[in-house]
Symmetry: C2
Subunit: 245 residues, 2 copies
């Protein structure tokens, strides 16, 4: 039997946001690999082995999955959201470096609904014009890189979506990000805190940068900062499609 590795996105939480393509891949799997809360979203069944692992062991997890696929298993690596956005796809390709044996395997990435797009949909359309997507965790890059990116994004007048805004271990980073954004964008810019979108714990809050405080975000929150034209209408926030020349 030829092994196969699928890297699948489970979407932000609601099963109605899992694509049929991903559902079919899960049904065909012999092994599910991933961070334990994501593996817990896959129903156990006969013939399926679940391999939950802890956070921050992405490369080890990728290698274990590739090893099983090389041994002929049908392996699905699960991520929440989209596997290509701050998730397992990059780790799997990183694990392929120097391993021509693994590079010959059947490997496919199946996209999913990423958190920022579920959050934007819940809030209205704050990402309806040009935007950027930045991981605020400084685990994987120095803070100076994050700050430079925030300043360029603001000068380019891009809307911004932030993943991992505030870790329990280093909460001060997000306070610095808010300070930088207030300097660049002023106090009236709209900012949306979207927590656990599409789950029973969903909570949406839109305020101005002047009103925003770091404790409005946690690690289950996606933060969206509007561009200079982003505005409220009724219960919603949206970015107009046009820039007037």
């Amino acid at each position: 039997m030829t092994g196969k590795l699928v890297i699948a996105g489970l979407g932000p939480g609601d099963d109605r946001l899992v694509t049929p393509e991903v559902t079919a891949a899960l049904a065909a799997a012999t092994d599910i690999v991933g961070y334990f809360p994501y593996v817990a979203r896959v129903a156990p069944r006969a013939g399926l082995t679940l391999h939950p692992s802890d956070n921050r062991v992405e490369l080890d997890r990728a290698r274990a999955a590739l090893d099983m696929a090389a041994a002929g298993r049908q392996v699905v690596v699960v991520s929440s959201g989209d596997p290509g956005v701050f998730a397992m796809a990059s780790a799997v390709f990183e694990a392929l470096e120097g391993r021509t044996d693994w590079q010959a395997l059947d490997i496919r990435v199946l996209p999913g609904i990423t958190a920022m797009l579920a959050a934007a949909a819940a809030a209205g359309a704050p990402l309806g014009h040009d935007f950027c997507c930045i991981n605020l965790s400084d685990n994987l890059k120095p803070w100076a890189v994050i700050e430079t990116r925030l300043r360029h994004a603001a000068k380019a007048d891009l809307a911004m979506a932030f993943y991992n805004p505030r870790s329990a271990s280093r909460p001060e980073g997000f306070a610095r990000a808010l300070d930088t954004l207030r300097q660049e964008c002023g106090p009236d810019r709209l900012i949306t805190f979207a927590r656990a979108v599409s789950t029973p714990e969903e909570r949406l809050l839109t305020v101005t940068l002047g009103e925003a405080t770091p404790d409005m975000a946690d690690m289950r929150t996606v933060v969206i900062v509007g561009n200079s034209a982003t505005r409220r209408v009724g219960r919603w926030v949206y970015s107009p499609r046009s820039v007037v020349g």
Copy 2:
């Protein structure tokens, strides 16, 4: 009967990338509104009226949909990809401006798999680190704004995804974008042209900026430019998760 307006994303083309949430909304609809090739993706049935319209009439289309919802219909406005990314969601919220009657309606946005994430999944994981998403059409903004955004994105070392890279009516814009990117990022930066991803016409091509020519893109192509660390491994392209400090 109370009317309702749903703005739904059909994903990039393959029906297996339509979320169950969107499928359920289409099944409950009395009226489908949208650009004709997207409306054509919804199967006709008794009790369902299809309202296909031409391109570039987004605000008229949004108002017509809101009018029907206000009259008690169950209206679904369809976009390809995700409705919040350069699609109909912003147009609907724009149409709500000054219309408190319409603002009281039940309006929901249902996310979809947007083209850049389907393209990234097909190519590997080129958007696996911080990135931006820019519409290169100059219908809705002056070229100078696009150029400024490209330069800031390059200086921030963001990967970039471009929608609508090359229109039949103004093909010269994309040639200018490539020139700007070559100036900012050099000739060795990787660029992926992903055409009609998830359809039978899917075609993927990764070259360097030095090798890229404008005719590699058309309006069905999403273009992804890597960051300075984006690299090939095996048949794939990916952006590493880390920036070394």
